[in-house]
Symmetry: C2
Subunit: 107 residues, 2 copies
């Protein structure tokens, strides 16, 4: 199943954060999340495993008790129910991939 980037919808989440749902199915979902400088992805948990890839920009990412500055190409892996979040220190975009699909994003 192909998902053409220019046919996806950009959703404004407020607070300088936008989201674009890309390819997804029952087992996985890919989502681009773009942050203005200073925008925050607040600490949260979910029952999905997640990998995030920095497409561009710079972020302070926290997973559990560990915080690290990450930039283009850096990745992180978070297990279900582990608190994680980011603060954007230079405008940019994360590619978040979840397993299974984030059904809550489709409502």
């Amino acid at each position: 199943m192909f998902t053409v980037y220019n046919e996806t919808d950009l959703k404004d989440l407020g607070g300088g954060v936008t989201r674009r749902i890309l390819a997804h199915g029952k087992d996985m979902m890919a989502v681009e999340v773009t942050f203005d400088e200073g925008a925050v992805g607040a600490m949260h948990t979910h029952p999905h495993t997640q990998i995030s890839y920095v497409l561009d920009g710079e972020f302070l990412a926290t997973i559990g008790n560990e915080t690290k500055k990450i930039c283009k190409g850096d990745t992180y892996y978070t297990l279900p129910d582990v608190p994680h979040g980011v603060v954007c220190i230079k405008k940019g975009t994360l590619l978040d991939i979840f397993t299974p699909e984030r059904e809550d994003f489709l409502k």
Copy 2:
């Protein structure tokens, strides 16, 4: 778990294809695969679900019986055991994410 891009290893797979294993754990794995123009990722199957994201370049991607030209930001989703492959038509890189982990890549 953070994976710093510059600390990952680039593996030459031959035929104008290189691979870099990024963040991974039992449930998921992220892998960058870079193709020279004309390089081929031959049709193959595996028991993992996969999402691929075009980081740059252009590819002809085939999933089952469908072939499509894809470029930056385009994504595709492949179910387990569905044949898929790519031909690179402009040098570039795919980000492949698998669930579960590709243990065969770690041997």
